[in-house]
Protein backbone atom coordinates (compact mmCIF):
# COMPACT_ATOMS: atom_id res chain seq x y z
CA UNK A 1 0.00 0.00 0.00
CA UNK A 2 1.16 3.50 -0.83
CA UNK A 3 2.49 5.40 2.16
CA UNK A 4 0.47 8.31 3.46
CA UNK A 5 2.19 11.65 3.42
CA UNK A 6 1.54 15.01 5.02
CA UNK A 7 2.71 18.28 3.48
CA UNK A 8 3.43 21.21 5.74
CA UNK A 9 3.75 24.38 3.70
CA UNK A 10 5.05 27.39 5.58
CA UNK A 11 4.38 31.06 4.77
CA UNK A 12 5.70 34.18 6.44
CA UNK A 13 2.63 36.33 5.85
CA UNK A 14 -1.08 35.77 6.32
CA UNK A 15 -1.83 37.46 3.00
CA UNK A 16 0.41 34.99 1.18
CA UNK A 17 -1.20 32.12 3.05
CA UNK A 18 -4.64 33.34 2.06
CA UNK A 19 -3.66 33.71 -1.60
CA UNK A 20 -2.02 30.25 -1.61
CA UNK A 21 -5.05 28.62 0.01
CA UNK A 22 -7.36 30.13 -2.63
CA UNK A 23 -4.96 29.04 -5.43
CA UNK A 24 -4.71 25.45 -4.15
CA UNK A 25 -8.43 25.08 -3.46
CA UNK A 26 -9.12 26.32 -7.00
CA UNK A 27 -7.10 23.35 -8.24
CA UNK A 28 -9.30 20.99 -6.25
CA UNK A 29 -6.84 20.37 -3.45
CA UNK A 30 -8.27 19.66 0.00
CA UNK A 31 -6.55 21.58 2.78
CA UNK A 32 -6.69 19.76 6.07
CA UNK A 33 -5.94 22.63 8.39
CA UNK A 34 -4.11 25.91 8.93
CA UNK A 35 -1.83 26.69 11.88
CA UNK A 36 -1.36 30.35 12.61
CA UNK A 37 -0.37 32.58 15.54
CA UNK A 38 -3.61 34.57 15.26
CA UNK A 39 -7.00 34.13 13.60
CA UNK A 40 -6.71 34.70 9.85
CA UNK A 41 -9.88 36.57 8.93
CA UNK A 42 -11.86 34.87 6.18
CA UNK A 43 -9.80 31.67 5.90
CA UNK A 44 -12.58 29.38 7.20
CA UNK A 45 -14.85 29.37 4.15
CA UNK A 46 -11.81 29.11 1.82
CA UNK A 47 -10.49 25.87 3.29
CA UNK A 48 -14.02 24.55 3.85
CA UNK A 49 -14.22 24.69 7.63
CA UNK A 50 -17.89 24.29 8.52
CA UNK A 51 -19.52 26.86 10.75
CA UNK A 52 -18.91 26.42 14.44
CA UNK A 53 -21.69 25.00 16.59
CA UNK A 54 -20.19 26.63 19.68
CA UNK A 55 -23.07 29.12 19.84
CA UNK A 56 -25.62 26.30 20.04
CA UNK A 57 -23.58 24.60 22.76
CA UNK A 58 -23.37 27.89 24.62
CA UNK A 59 -27.15 28.32 24.45
CA UNK A 60 -27.58 24.85 25.93
CA UNK A 61 -25.10 25.52 28.75
CA UNK A 62 -26.85 28.79 29.56
CA UNK A 63 -30.28 27.12 29.53
CA UNK A 64 -28.91 24.48 31.90
CA UNK A 65 -27.71 27.33 34.12
CA UNK A 66 -31.15 28.95 34.07
CA UNK A 67 -32.84 25.70 35.09
CA UNK A 68 -30.26 24.89 37.76
CA UNK A 69 -30.48 28.38 39.28
CA UNK A 70 -34.27 28.31 39.41
CA UNK A 71 -34.33 24.80 40.80
CA UNK A 72 -31.68 25.68 43.38
CA UNK A 73 -33.44 28.80 44.59
CA UNK A 74 -36.77 27.02 44.70
CA UNK A 75 -35.20 24.29 46.82
CA UNK A 76 -33.18 26.54 49.17
CA UNK A 77 -35.64 29.39 49.62
CA UNK A 78 -39.04 27.78 49.29
CA UNK A 79 -38.96 24.02 49.67
CA UNK A 80 -36.26 23.10 52.16
CA UNK A 81 -36.20 26.15 54.43
CA UNK A 82 -38.90 28.68 53.53
CA UNK A 83 -37.65 32.20 54.09
CA UNK A 84 -39.36 35.52 54.55
CA UNK A 85 -37.10 38.17 53.08
CA UNK A 86 -38.21 41.77 52.69
CA UNK A 87 -41.77 40.97 53.67
CA UNK A 88 -42.33 38.58 50.82
CA UNK A 89 -43.37 35.37 52.57
CA UNK A 90 -45.43 34.09 49.70
CA UNK A 91 -43.46 30.80 49.60
CA UNK A 92 -44.10 30.39 45.91
CA UNK A 93 -41.54 30.39 43.12
CA UNK A 94 -43.75 32.20 40.65
CA UNK A 95 -44.76 34.99 43.02
CA UNK A 96 -41.17 35.59 44.08
CA UNK A 97 -39.78 35.25 40.58
CA UNK A 98 -38.70 38.91 40.07
CA UNK A 99 -36.37 38.54 43.08
CA UNK A 100 -34.82 35.43 41.56
CA UNK A 101 -34.24 36.89 38.11
CA UNK A 102 -30.88 38.60 38.80
CA UNK A 103 -29.34 35.44 40.25
CA UNK A 104 -30.80 33.32 37.46
CA UNK A 105 -29.40 35.72 34.89
CA UNK A 106 -25.93 35.73 36.44
CA UNK A 107 -25.85 31.96 36.81
CA UNK A 108 -26.96 31.49 33.18
CA UNK A 109 -24.16 33.77 32.00
CA UNK A 110 -21.66 31.96 34.23
CA UNK A 111 -22.64 28.53 32.90
CA UNK A 112 -22.82 29.74 29.29
CA UNK A 113 -19.43 31.45 29.40
CA UNK A 114 -17.55 28.74 31.28
CA UNK A 115 -19.13 25.96 29.26
CA UNK A 116 -18.27 27.72 26.04
CA UNK A 117 -14.65 28.43 27.07
CA UNK A 118 -14.06 24.86 28.26
CA UNK A 119 -15.64 23.36 25.15
CA UNK A 120 -13.53 25.59 22.95
CA UNK A 121 -10.28 24.67 24.71
CA UNK A 122 -11.15 20.97 24.80
CA UNK A 123 -12.19 20.83 21.16
CA UNK A 124 -9.01 22.64 20.09
CA UNK A 125 -6.84 20.51 22.36
CA UNK A 126 -5.51 23.61 24.07
CA UNK A 127 -6.51 23.02 27.67
CA UNK A 128 -3.58 23.79 30.01
CA UNK A 129 -1.13 20.86 30.00
CA UNK A 130 -2.37 19.25 26.80
CA UNK A 131 0.40 18.31 24.33
CA UNK A 132 0.92 20.77 21.48
CA UNK A 133 -0.32 19.53 18.12
CA UNK A 134 1.10 22.18 15.81
CA UNK A 135 3.68 20.88 13.35
CA UNK A 136 6.24 23.61 13.93
CA UNK A 137 6.77 25.78 17.02
CA UNK A 138 7.21 28.84 14.81
CA UNK A 139 3.45 28.87 14.10
CA UNK A 140 3.03 30.28 17.59
CA UNK A 141 5.29 33.18 16.68
CA UNK A 142 5.16 34.67 13.20
CA UNK A 143 4.79 31.83 10.68
CA UNK A 144 1.74 30.25 9.03
CA UNK A 145 1.46 26.60 8.00
CA UNK A 146 -0.94 24.89 5.60
CA UNK A 147 -1.44 21.18 6.20
CA UNK A 148 -2.32 18.94 3.24
CA UNK A 149 -2.79 15.17 3.43
CA UNK A 150 -2.21 12.91 0.43
CA UNK A 151 -4.86 10.65 1.91
CA UNK A 152 -7.55 13.29 1.40
CA UNK A 153 -6.48 14.22 -2.12
CA UNK A 154 -6.62 12.43 -5.42
CA UNK A 155 -3.25 13.88 -6.46
CA UNK A 156 -0.14 12.06 -5.33
CA UNK A 157 2.60 13.66 -3.27
CA UNK A 158 4.62 14.72 -6.33
CA UNK A 159 1.73 16.54 -7.98
CA UNK A 160 0.77 18.21 -4.70
CA UNK A 161 4.37 19.30 -4.22
CA UNK A 162 4.57 20.94 -7.62
CA UNK A 163 1.22 22.70 -7.05
CA UNK A 164 2.41 23.94 -3.67
CA UNK A 165 5.71 25.16 -5.13
CA UNK A 166 3.81 27.58 -7.36
CA UNK A 167 2.72 29.55 -4.29
CA UNK A 168 4.84 32.08 -2.40
CA UNK A 169 5.95 29.59 0.22
CA UNK A 170 8.81 29.87 2.66
CA UNK A 171 9.48 26.20 3.43
CA UNK A 172 7.97 22.85 2.60
CA UNK A 173 8.28 19.67 4.61
CA UNK A 174 6.86 16.33 3.56
CA UNK A 175 6.59 13.57 6.12
CA UNK A 176 5.16 10.10 6.16
CA UNK A 177 2.72 9.28 8.85
CA UNK A 178 0.92 6.22 10.09
CA UNK A 179 -2.82 6.43 9.57
Amino acid sequence: MESKKVLHVMYDDDGKLMAAAKQLVAKGIQIKDVYSPFPVHGIDPVIGVTRTRLAIASFMYATTGTCLALFGMWYFMIQDWPMNIGGKPSFSLIENLPAFVPVTFEFSVLCGAHGMALTYLLRNGTLPGMPASNPDPRTTDDKFVLEILTDENEMDAGALESAVNETELLELSIKEYAA
Binding site: G42, A55, F59, G86, G87, P98, A99, V101
Partner: protein
Protein backbone atom coordinates in the same frame (compact mmCIF):
# COMPACT_ATOMS: atom_id res chain seq x y z
CA UNK B 1 -33.54 52.08 -13.01
CA UNK B 2 -31.54 54.78 -11.33
CA UNK B 3 -30.62 53.25 -7.99
CA UNK B 4 -28.52 56.15 -6.75
CA UNK B 5 -31.59 58.31 -6.10
CA UNK B 6 -34.71 56.99 -4.47
CA UNK B 7 -37.92 58.10 -6.16
CA UNK B 8 -40.85 58.45 -3.81
CA UNK B 9 -43.86 57.56 -5.93
CA UNK B 10 -46.34 54.86 -6.80
CA UNK B 11 -47.85 52.50 -4.27
CA UNK B 12 -45.59 53.55 -1.40
CA UNK B 13 -46.70 57.15 -1.71
CA UNK B 14 -50.35 56.16 -2.07
CA UNK B 15 -50.09 53.95 1.00
CA UNK B 16 -48.75 56.79 3.14
CA UNK B 17 -51.63 59.02 1.96
CA UNK B 18 -54.13 56.25 2.79
CA UNK B 19 -52.62 55.89 6.27
CA UNK B 20 -52.68 59.64 6.80
CA UNK B 21 -56.31 59.71 5.61
CA UNK B 22 -57.27 57.03 8.17
CA UNK B 23 -55.42 59.05 10.79
CA UNK B 24 -57.19 62.27 9.87
CA UNK B 25 -60.62 60.59 10.05
CA UNK B 26 -59.67 59.05 13.40
CA UNK B 27 -58.40 62.34 14.80
CA UNK B 28 -61.39 64.40 13.69
CA UNK B 29 -63.97 61.84 14.76
CA UNK B 30 -62.04 61.22 17.97
CA UNK B 31 -61.91 64.93 18.76
CA UNK B 32 -65.62 65.43 18.06
CA UNK B 33 -66.85 62.33 19.87
CA UNK B 34 -64.50 62.58 22.85
CA UNK B 35 -66.83 63.24 25.77
CA UNK B 36 -64.18 62.77 28.47
CA UNK B 37 -63.51 65.74 30.69
CA UNK B 38 -61.35 68.27 28.85
CA UNK B 39 -61.06 65.90 25.90
CA UNK B 40 -58.46 64.09 27.90
CA UNK B 41 -58.62 60.98 25.72
CA UNK B 42 -57.84 62.96 22.58
CA UNK B 43 -54.89 64.77 24.12
CA UNK B 44 -53.46 61.72 25.84
CA UNK B 45 -53.46 59.96 22.51
CA UNK B 46 -51.82 62.94 20.82
CA UNK B 47 -49.06 62.81 23.41
CA UNK B 48 -48.59 59.06 22.95
CA UNK B 49 -48.22 59.37 19.18
CA UNK B 50 -46.34 62.65 19.24
CA UNK B 51 -43.81 61.41 21.73
CA UNK B 52 -43.45 57.96 20.14
CA UNK B 53 -42.67 59.25 16.66
CA UNK B 54 -40.61 62.17 17.96
CA UNK B 55 -38.53 59.68 19.91
CA UNK B 56 -38.01 57.44 16.85
CA UNK B 57 -36.65 60.46 14.99
CA UNK B 58 -34.56 61.54 17.96
CA UNK B 59 -33.16 58.00 18.21
CA UNK B 60 -31.96 58.34 14.61
CA UNK B 61 -30.22 61.64 15.36
CA UNK B 62 -28.54 60.07 18.37
CA UNK B 63 -27.44 57.00 16.42
CA UNK B 64 -26.15 59.17 13.58
CA UNK B 65 -24.08 61.28 15.98
CA UNK B 66 -22.87 58.08 17.65
CA UNK B 67 -21.56 56.74 14.33
CA UNK B 68 -19.53 59.93 13.88
CA UNK B 69 -18.32 60.18 17.47
CA UNK B 70 -17.10 56.56 17.39
CA UNK B 71 -15.67 56.94 13.85
CA UNK B 72 -17.66 53.89 12.75
CA UNK B 73 -17.00 52.84 9.20
CA UNK B 74 -19.56 50.08 8.69
CA UNK B 75 -22.56 52.41 8.72
CA UNK B 76 -21.30 54.91 6.12
CA UNK B 77 -23.57 53.48 3.40
CA UNK B 78 -26.58 53.80 5.72
CA UNK B 79 -26.12 57.40 6.80
CA UNK B 80 -28.65 58.89 4.38
CA UNK B 81 -31.30 56.58 5.86
CA UNK B 82 -30.70 57.94 9.36
CA UNK B 83 -30.72 61.48 7.99
CA UNK B 84 -34.09 60.74 6.44
CA UNK B 85 -35.49 59.38 9.70
CA UNK B 86 -34.38 62.34 11.79
CA UNK B 87 -35.96 64.54 9.16
CA UNK B 88 -39.18 63.94 11.11
CA UNK B 89 -37.81 65.83 14.14
CA UNK B 90 -39.45 69.22 13.32
CA UNK B 91 -42.82 67.48 12.82
CA UNK B 92 -42.50 65.45 16.02
CA UNK B 93 -41.40 68.53 17.94
CA UNK B 94 -44.43 70.38 16.55
CA UNK B 95 -46.78 67.63 17.74
CA UNK B 96 -45.30 67.69 21.22
CA UNK B 97 -45.44 71.49 21.35
CA UNK B 98 -49.14 71.43 20.38
CA UNK B 99 -49.87 69.03 23.26
CA UNK B 100 -47.79 71.04 25.73
CA UNK B 101 -49.33 74.36 24.65
CA UNK B 102 -52.81 72.90 25.03
CA UNK B 103 -51.80 71.86 28.52
CA UNK B 104 -50.42 75.29 29.28
CA UNK B 105 -53.77 76.82 28.32
CA UNK B 106 -55.63 74.19 30.34
CA UNK B 107 -57.38 72.63 27.37
CA UNK B 108 -56.51 69.29 28.96
CA UNK B 109 -55.28 68.03 32.27
CA UNK B 110 -52.54 65.56 31.31
CA UNK B 111 -50.03 67.36 33.50
CA UNK B 112 -51.63 67.62 36.88
CA UNK B 113 -48.80 69.81 38.18
CA UNK B 114 -49.68 72.56 35.69
CA UNK B 115 -52.63 73.39 37.96
CA UNK B 116 -51.20 76.40 39.85
CA UNK B 117 -53.65 76.06 42.76
CA UNK B 118 -51.74 72.99 44.00
CA UNK B 119 -48.83 75.09 45.15
CA UNK B 120 -50.55 77.39 47.68
CA UNK B 121 -51.19 76.36 51.22
CA UNK B 122 -53.85 78.98 51.97
CA UNK B 123 -57.03 80.20 50.41
CA UNK B 124 -57.81 83.86 51.14
CA UNK B 125 -61.36 85.15 51.71
CA UNK B 126 -61.29 86.96 48.34
CA UNK B 127 -60.78 83.63 46.55
CA UNK B 128 -57.07 84.10 45.76
CA UNK B 129 -54.34 81.73 46.85
CA UNK B 130 -51.45 82.53 49.16
CA UNK B 131 -48.29 80.95 50.53
CA UNK B 132 -48.71 82.90 53.75
CA UNK B 133 -51.46 82.68 56.33
CA UNK B 134 -53.48 85.89 56.61
CA UNK B 135 -56.59 87.23 58.26
CA UNK B 136 -59.50 84.96 57.41
CA UNK B 137 -57.40 82.51 55.36
CA UNK B 138 -58.43 78.88 55.29
CA UNK B 139 -56.45 75.79 54.25
CA UNK B 140 -56.43 75.40 50.47
CA UNK B 141 -58.20 72.08 49.72
CA UNK B 142 -56.20 71.74 46.49
CA UNK B 143 -52.83 72.17 48.21
CA UNK B 144 -50.53 69.26 47.40
CA UNK B 145 -47.56 69.14 49.76
CA UNK B 146 -45.48 66.80 47.57
CA UNK B 147 -46.01 68.75 44.36
CA UNK B 148 -45.49 72.08 46.12
CA UNK B 149 -42.09 70.84 47.22
CA UNK B 150 -41.18 70.18 43.59
CA UNK B 151 -42.07 73.70 42.49
CA UNK B 152 -38.42 74.75 42.08
CA UNK B 153 -38.24 72.39 39.11
CA UNK B 154 -41.85 71.77 38.11
CA UNK B 155 -43.07 75.27 37.33
CA UNK B 156 -44.36 76.26 33.94
CA UNK B 157 -41.72 78.94 33.28
CA UNK B 158 -38.75 76.65 33.83
CA UNK B 159 -40.61 73.83 32.06
CA UNK B 160 -41.02 75.92 28.91
CA UNK B 161 -37.40 77.09 29.02
CA UNK B 162 -36.25 73.48 29.22
CA UNK B 163 -38.64 72.26 26.52
CA UNK B 164 -37.56 74.97 24.09
CA UNK B 165 -33.88 74.38 24.84
CA UNK B 166 -34.17 70.62 24.14
CA UNK B 167 -36.12 71.06 20.94
CA UNK B 168 -34.02 73.88 19.54
CA UNK B 169 -30.77 72.04 20.37
CA UNK B 170 -31.97 68.93 18.55
CA UNK B 171 -33.20 70.89 15.56
CA UNK B 172 -30.02 72.95 15.29
CA UNK B 173 -27.81 69.86 15.35
CA UNK B 174 -30.08 67.97 12.93
CA UNK B 175 -30.00 70.87 10.46
CA UNK B 176 -26.25 71.28 10.78
CA UNK B 177 -25.47 67.58 10.25
CA UNK B 178 -27.71 67.44 7.21
CA UNK B 179 -26.25 70.62 5.71
CA UNK B 180 -22.67 69.42 6.14
CA UNK B 181 -23.52 65.97 4.87
CA UNK B 182 -24.93 67.39 1.63
CA UNK B 183 -22.00 69.80 1.35
CA UNK B 184 -19.59 66.87 1.68
CA UNK B 185 -21.15 65.31 -1.43
CA UNK B 186 -20.02 68.38 -3.36
CA UNK B 187 -16.60 69.20 -1.91
CA UNK B 188 -15.25 65.85 -0.65
CA UNK B 189 -12.14 65.74 1.49
CA UNK B 190 -12.05 65.08 5.21
CA UNK B 191 -12.56 68.58 6.70
CA UNK B 192 -16.32 68.27 6.98
CA UNK B 193 -15.99 64.71 8.24
CA UNK B 194 -13.82 65.78 11.16
CA UNK B 195 -16.14 68.68 11.90
CA UNK B 196 -19.04 66.21 12.03
CA UNK B 197 -16.93 63.95 14.26
CA UNK B 198 -16.38 66.75 16.79
CA UNK B 199 -19.96 68.01 16.64
CA UNK B 200 -21.24 64.43 16.88
CA UNK B 201 -19.36 63.97 20.14
CA UNK B 202 -20.65 67.33 21.37
CA UNK B 203 -24.20 66.37 20.49
CA UNK B 204 -23.91 63.19 22.55
CA UNK B 205 -23.07 65.30 25.60
CA UNK B 206 -26.22 67.39 25.14
CA UNK B 207 -28.27 64.33 24.26
CA UNK B 208 -27.18 62.44 27.39
CA UNK B 209 -28.57 65.21 29.61
CA UNK B 210 -31.55 66.26 27.53
CA UNK B 211 -32.88 62.78 26.72
CA UNK B 212 -33.08 62.09 30.45
CA UNK B 213 -34.60 65.45 31.32
CA UNK B 214 -37.17 65.48 28.55
CA UNK B 215 -38.41 62.10 29.68
CA UNK B 216 -38.90 63.49 33.20
CA UNK B 217 -40.59 66.62 31.91
CA UNK B 218 -42.85 65.22 29.23
CA UNK B 219 -43.58 61.72 30.52
CA UNK B 220 -42.62 61.16 34.15
CA UNK B 221 -44.28 64.38 35.34
CA UNK B 222 -47.66 62.90 34.30
CA UNK B 223 -47.48 60.76 37.42
CA UNK B 224 -46.37 63.78 39.39
CA UNK B 225 -45.98 62.17 42.79
CA UNK B 226 -43.94 59.32 41.47
CA UNK B 227 -40.33 59.33 40.38
CA UNK B 228 -37.76 56.85 39.18
CA UNK B 229 -34.07 57.54 38.81
CA UNK B 230 -33.42 55.35 35.81
CA UNK B 231 -36.51 56.51 33.94
CA UNK B 232 -34.45 58.56 31.47
CA UNK B 233 -32.31 55.61 30.36
CA UNK B 234 -35.38 53.46 30.03
CA UNK B 235 -37.09 55.99 27.74
CA UNK B 236 -33.83 56.44 25.83
CA UNK B 237 -33.42 52.70 25.22
CA UNK B 238 -37.03 52.57 24.02
CA UNK B 239 -36.48 55.35 21.49
CA UNK B 240 -33.24 53.76 20.32
CA UNK B 241 -34.72 50.33 19.69
CA UNK B 242 -37.87 51.71 18.02
CA UNK B 243 -35.68 53.67 15.63
CA UNK B 244 -33.51 50.62 14.85
CA UNK B 245 -36.59 48.55 14.07
CA UNK B 246 -37.96 51.23 11.77
CA UNK B 247 -34.59 51.61 10.03
CA UNK B 248 -34.15 47.84 9.61
CA UNK B 249 -37.59 47.31 8.11
CA UNK B 250 -37.25 50.32 5.78
CA UNK B 251 -33.83 49.14 4.67
CA UNK B 252 -35.05 45.60 3.99
CA UNK B 253 -37.92 46.98 1.93
CA UNK B 254 -35.70 49.41 -0.02
CA UNK B 255 -33.25 46.62 -0.83
CA UNK B 256 -36.05 44.33 -1.95
CA UNK B 257 -37.17 46.91 -4.55
CA UNK B 258 -33.67 47.45 -5.85
CA UNK B 259 -32.20 50.38 -3.90
CA UNK B 260 -29.19 50.39 -1.58
CA UNK B 261 -27.23 47.89 -3.67
CA UNK B 262 -24.14 48.75 -1.59
CA UNK B 263 -25.81 47.42 1.55
CA UNK B 264 -24.85 43.77 1.87
CA UNK B 265 -25.90 40.86 4.08
CA UNK B 266 -23.40 41.87 6.75
CA UNK B 267 -24.93 45.33 7.12
CA UNK B 268 -28.34 43.74 7.55
CA UNK B 269 -26.87 41.30 10.06
CA UNK B 270 -25.37 44.21 11.99
CA UNK B 271 -28.69 46.06 12.02
CA UNK B 272 -30.41 42.93 13.33
CA UNK B 273 -27.69 42.62 15.98
CA UNK B 274 -28.45 46.18 17.03
CA UNK B 275 -32.16 45.43 17.27
CA UNK B 276 -31.37 42.37 19.38
CA UNK B 277 -28.87 44.13 21.62
CA UNK B 278 -30.93 47.24 22.29
CA UNK B 279 -34.03 45.11 22.92
CA UNK B 280 -31.99 43.47 25.67
CA UNK B 281 -30.86 46.88 26.96
CA UNK B 282 -34.48 48.02 27.09
CA UNK B 283 -35.58 44.82 28.86
CA UNK B 284 -32.75 45.17 31.33
CA UNK B 285 -33.68 48.76 32.21
CA UNK B 286 -37.41 48.04 32.29
CA UNK B 287 -36.88 45.12 34.61
CA UNK B 288 -34.36 46.96 36.81
CA UNK B 289 -36.87 49.72 37.39
CA UNK B 290 -39.67 47.26 38.03
CA UNK B 291 -37.80 44.87 40.28
CA UNK B 292 -36.37 47.47 42.67
CA UNK B 293 -39.76 49.10 43.10
CA UNK B 294 -41.54 45.76 43.45
CA UNK B 295 -39.01 44.55 46.00
CA UNK B 296 -38.87 47.62 48.22
CA UNK B 297 -42.66 47.97 48.04
CA UNK B 298 -42.69 51.61 49.23
CA UNK B 299 -46.17 53.10 48.80
CA UNK B 300 -45.16 56.25 46.92
CA UNK B 301 -43.16 54.22 44.40
CA UNK B 302 -45.22 51.10 44.01
CA UNK B 303 -48.46 52.95 43.13
CA UNK B 304 -47.09 53.40 39.62
CA UNK B 305 -47.05 49.66 39.05
CA UNK B 306 -50.25 49.03 40.98
CA UNK B 307 -51.99 51.37 38.53
CA UNK B 308 -50.66 49.24 35.68
CA UNK B 309 -50.61 45.66 36.97
CA UNK B 310 -53.82 45.38 38.97
CA UNK B 311 -56.15 47.28 36.64
CA UNK B 312 -57.49 46.99 33.11
CA UNK B 313 -53.91 47.60 31.87
CA UNK B 314 -52.68 44.31 33.31
CA UNK B 315 -52.76 42.24 30.11
CA UNK B 316 -51.16 44.78 27.75
CA UNK B 317 -48.61 45.71 30.40
CA UNK B 318 -47.36 42.19 30.99
CA UNK B 319 -47.75 41.12 27.36
CA UNK B 320 -45.80 44.20 26.23
CA UNK B 321 -42.81 43.18 28.33
CA UNK B 322 -42.80 39.62 27.01
CA UNK B 323 -43.21 40.74 23.41
CA UNK B 324 -40.39 43.26 23.70
CA UNK B 325 -38.05 40.93 25.56
CA UNK B 326 -38.78 37.27 24.90
CA UNK B 327 -39.60 37.46 21.19
CA UNK B 328 -36.42 39.25 20.11
CA UNK B 329 -34.40 37.13 22.52
CA UNK B 330 -35.57 33.70 21.43
CA UNK B 331 -36.15 34.45 17.76
CA UNK B 332 -33.19 36.72 17.01
CA UNK B 333 -30.59 34.90 19.11
CA UNK B 334 -29.52 32.67 16.25
CA UNK B 335 -27.28 34.06 13.52
CA UNK B 336 -29.39 32.60 10.72
CA UNK B 337 -32.55 34.25 12.04
CA UNK B 338 -30.83 37.64 12.12
CA UNK B 339 -29.84 37.25 8.48
CA UNK B 340 -33.24 36.00 7.35
CA UNK B 341 -35.90 38.67 6.69
CA UNK B 342 -38.61 36.00 7.13
CA UNK B 343 -37.78 35.95 10.83
CA UNK B 344 -36.52 39.48 11.23
CA UNK B 345 -39.44 41.37 9.70
CA UNK B 346 -42.30 39.75 11.68
CA UNK B 347 -40.30 40.21 14.88
CA UNK B 348 -39.64 43.82 13.94
CA UNK B 349 -43.35 44.52 13.38
CA UNK B 350 -44.27 42.87 16.68
CA UNK B 351 -41.76 44.75 18.78
CA UNK B 352 -42.50 48.04 17.02
CA UNK B 353 -46.11 47.64 18.18
CA UNK B 354 -44.73 46.51 21.54
CA UNK B 355 -42.79 49.72 21.97
CA UNK B 356 -45.79 51.79 20.92
CA UNK B 357 -47.73 49.96 23.65
CA UNK B 358 -44.91 50.80 26.03
CA UNK B 359 -45.32 54.53 25.35
CA UNK B 360 -49.11 54.16 25.53
CA UNK B 361 -48.76 52.64 28.99
CA UNK B 362 -46.40 55.41 30.07
CA UNK B 363 -49.00 58.06 29.34
CA UNK B 364 -52.51 56.62 29.51
CA UNK B 365 -52.81 55.00 32.98
CA UNK B 366 -51.69 58.25 34.61
CA UNK B 367 -54.05 60.46 32.59
CA UNK B 368 -57.19 58.45 31.81
CA UNK B 369 -57.01 56.10 34.80
CA UNK B 370 -59.84 53.58 34.42
CA UNK B 371 -61.62 55.47 31.63
CA UNK B 372 -59.31 54.39 28.80
CA UNK B 373 -60.59 52.65 25.69
CA UNK B 374 -58.54 51.37 22.81
CA UNK B 375 -60.73 51.84 19.77
CA UNK B 376 -60.66 53.10 16.22
CA UNK B 377 -59.51 56.50 17.43
CA UNK B 378 -56.35 55.06 18.99
CA UNK B 379 -55.26 52.62 16.30
CA UNK B 380 -56.49 54.89 13.52
CA UNK B 381 -54.45 57.82 14.72
CA UNK B 382 -51.42 55.55 15.29
CA UNK B 383 -51.66 54.47 11.64
CA UNK B 384 -52.12 58.09 10.61
CA UNK B 385 -49.02 59.28 12.41
CA UNK B 386 -47.13 56.24 11.12
CA UNK B 387 -48.18 57.24 7.60
CA UNK B 388 -46.99 60.80 8.21
CA UNK B 389 -43.72 59.50 9.63
CA UNK B 390 -43.08 57.20 6.65
CA UNK B 391 -44.09 59.96 4.24
CA UNK B 392 -41.72 62.52 5.73
CA UNK B 393 -38.91 59.98 5.95
CA UNK B 394 -39.23 58.78 2.37
CA UNK B 395 -39.67 62.26 0.97
CA UNK B 396 -36.49 63.29 2.70
CA UNK B 397 -34.75 60.12 1.49
CA UNK B 398 -35.69 60.99 -2.07
CA UNK B 399 -34.24 64.50 -1.76
CA UNK B 400 -30.59 63.43 -1.76
CA UNK B 401 -28.46 60.64 -3.25
CA UNK B 402 -28.91 57.40 -1.28
CA UNK B 403 -25.19 57.01 -0.78
CA UNK B 404 -23.02 59.80 0.58
CA UNK B 405 -20.48 59.51 -2.22
CA UNK B 406 -17.68 61.44 -0.49
CA UNK B 407 -17.89 59.86 2.93
CA UNK B 408 -14.24 59.07 3.75
CA UNK B 409 -15.13 55.63 5.09
CA UNK B 410 -17.41 54.62 2.24
CA UNK B 411 -15.04 52.01 0.81
CA UNK B 412 -14.60 50.43 4.23
CA UNK B 413 -18.34 50.32 4.62
CA UNK B 414 -18.92 48.76 1.21
CA UNK B 415 -16.35 46.07 2.00
CA UNK B 416 -18.00 45.20 5.32
CA UNK B 417 -18.03 41.50 5.74
CA UNK B 418 -18.58 39.42 8.78
Amino acid sequence: MDTMNYRFEGRAKTLTYVLMGIGLVALVSGFLTDDSHGQQRFWANMLVNGFFFFSVALGALFFYALQYATESGWSAVLKRLFEAIYGFLPFGAGLILIVLLAGQFHLHHLYHWMDHTLYYEFLLPDGSYSHEAAEGAVANPNFDYIIANKSAYLNTTFFWVRTLVYISTFLIFARMFRKWSLAEDEVGGTDLHYKMYRRGALFLVFFAVFSSMLSWDWIMSIDTHWFSTLFGWYIFSGMWVSMLIFATVTLTWLRSIGYFKEVNESHMHDMAKWVFAISMLWSYLWFSQFMLIWYSNIPEEVTYFVARMFTQYKVPFIAMFFVNFAIPFYVLLARDAKRNPKFLIPVAFLIFCGHYTDVYLLVVPGTLHDHAHFGFFEWGSFLGFLGLFIHVTLRRLASAPLIAVNHPMLEESKALHY
